[in-house]
């Protein structure tokens, strides 16, 4: 059926253009399959809306000062109707949002949806991910219990290791030398006003660019799923119903989780007593784990900087072919990704264990400055390993650049995930390695 015909016959067209003008009139039938996108972008939006609605209620109760913060949350949880539930929904939505946004980024990358015309949107998406992290981070302190106080202390101290601007940045964020009243106000203003406004602005741009690119990336025809051309179907009801279904299921899921597992609130913050172990919020624990293995200059500055540059650059490289549209690009790309994931799953724990129990370069070159023995040397080894992996796997599979870059990306993502899992579950008192059931 011709597109014009379908627009004519679509009796919901006027509703479509009136209310849902942000959505397309017609969508490609092939892009509808749930496993093509897993609806992760839409889920992020739903979680954001849940965060806004619960957050809007909480700002009427919360008192942003070290003296009153903890008590005001206790009051909300104990005295106010559904106070516990509202905070629970906010807490779980926030944590889920970070996970879902990261998964969304992975989906976009692994279906090759970051090439032109979606290149700018890849960058906007990275900006959104950064803002979501800032949002989670600033919200983390507001509970003002022991865990939140020390997690933010550790993270802001990590900032201080950045050469040059680090300490100034740390003082500006904290509003002083230590966490205090100025810090709470700073974080409250950022968390409730600045970051949400920026998020809304960037989200609008993000969604508009999705429309501009003609919707999500459409699966390419391969020998396996050879189908003639691209069929378009009306947005209503095909995609709309799917979106509503995913949204409602997600809301139900968060509600159930929030009912059965309430948001944690530990002992009130005590600046004089650090808990043991003290860990960053889970999404920064991977960084904290890096800090255990590398000199701070490399762990909190050079390595993250290189990763950020690489992730931005990846959309602007010159590629061999347009392979976008399908998961892992090609069957070969899928096999390479599996090899990369396995490599990272084996080598990262090995590196952690060796660094913990073997002497390593710090021991061999103990006479040199730590910035060399514990920074430059292991980082050079790491870089050489990564480059060697890239060249080896490319040659072994006789692969295109697209597939090789993807394999490298998978290697780094799985490696960082292992670091995060180690930091969250396998680090006990004094950050020593322990089994999760021993903590």
């Amino acid at each position: 059926m011709a597109i014009a015909d379908m627009q004519e016959n679509n009796k919901w067209g006027f509703v479509n253009s009136l209310i849902l003008h942000t959505r397309p009139v017609l969508v490609p039938a092939k892009a509808l399959r749930f496993t093509h996108t897993f609806g992760l972008g839409g889920m992020s939006l739903v979680l954001f809306l849940m965060l806004i609605s619960t957050g809007l209620l909480m700002i009427f109760v919360y008192e942003p000062s070290p003296e009153r913060a903890y008590e005001s949350i206790l009051f909300m949880q104990q005295e106010m109707l559904f106070g516990r539930l509202i905070r629970g929904v906010h807490y779980w939505s926030a944590n889920l949002l970070i996970a879902v946004a990261v998964l969304h980024m992975l989906r976009v990358f692994l279906t090759g949806a970051f090439h032109a015309p979606r290149r700018a949107n890849w960058i906007i998406g990275l900006g959104l991910l950064f803002l979501i992290m800032v949002s989670g981070f600033t919200g983390y302190l507001l509970a003002w219990d022991q865990i939140s106080y020390w997690a933010i202390t550790i993270c802001t101290e990590m900032l201080g290791y950045m050469p040059g601007i680090g300490q100034t940045l740390q003082r500006v964020i904290l509003g002083g030398a230590e966490i205090g009243p100025a810090t709470v106000i700073n974080f409250y203003a950022l968390h409730t006003i600045v970051v949400p406004l920026l998020l809304v602005a960037l989200m609008t741009w993000h969604f508009w660019r999705v429309r501009l690119a003609g919707g999500v990336v459409v699966p390419r025809d391969t020998e396996e799923n050879a189908q003639a051309g691209t069929d378009y179907v009306p947005y209503i009801p095909n995609l709309l119903l799917r979106e509503i279904a995913v949204g409602l299921m997600l809301i139900a899921f968060v509600l159930v989780i929030a009912i059965f597992f309430e948001a944690p609130l530990g002992e009130p913050a005590n600046p004089g007593l650090s808990p043991n172990p003290a860990k960053a919020p889970w999404y920064f624990v991977g960084l904290q784990e890096l800090l255990l293995h590398f000199h701070p200059l490399f762990a909190v500055f050079i390595i993250p900087l290189v990763v950020v540059i690489a992730v931005v650059r990846v959309a602007y490289l010159r590629y061999d072919a347009d392979l976008s549209g399908n998961w892992f690009l090609t069957p070969k790309g899928r096999r390479m990704a599996a090899v990369a994931a396995t490599t990272a799953l084996l080598l990262t724990p090995l590196w952690i264990l060796l660094d913990e129990y073997a002497v390593g370069p710090v021991g061999w070159f103990s006479s040199t400055a730590p910035v060399i023995s514990n920074g430059l040397l292991p980082c050079t080894a790491l870089a050489v390993g990564v480059v060697a992996f890239y060249m080896l796997i490319r040659k072994q599979f006789n692969a295109s650049k697209n597939e090789t870059v993807q394999a490298l990306f998978v290697l780094l993502v799985v490696g960082f995930t292992v670091l995060t899992v180690t930091g969250v579950w396998f680090r006990g008192a004094g950050m020593a390695l322990v089994w999760p059931w021993q903590t």
Binding site: I154, G175, G176
Partner: protein
Amino acid sequence: MVSWCGYGIGVAMADIDKRRRSFMSRIAALLGGLAIFEAGWISATFLGPRRSRVSLEEGLGFQVAGPVERFEPGSVTAFRDGHFYLVRLDDGGFLALHRKCTHLGCTVPWIADEQRFTCPCHASAFDIRGDVLSAPAARALELFAVRIDNGIVKVDTNKLLRRASFESHQVTRV
């Protein structure tokens, strides 16, 4: 007629017109730049560290620790409000050590039995002078300045002194 440049009238009018326009737009750009600078300056003042305001409110600043005799040589006294330990070394000199670990900012307790500060977060350890005994911390504990007026020990909690390691000139002697 304006003809200060000495050109013929016809040429000069167009020329002057152009110059006036570019002069005006340069002024506008300058004023715009100034406005941005002012806005940035004001924002920076608002967002900058507010330690001085806080310390005024809380009466921090110079803290009176007590008379010299109250502190035994070789003792460590914690001042919770001032966030420091007042150390009296064996030779009678005073040091005020900031209680924050120089690795990632955890509060280090004084373990009297072992004669060392041990960080609960990543197991860094410092001796009584604040020097690093074991990594991951790389710098000695930071210092507040100590002053002794008429036998009364006072600690200036306004300014922290970063240092790599202990040096004898950091000690305040009676």
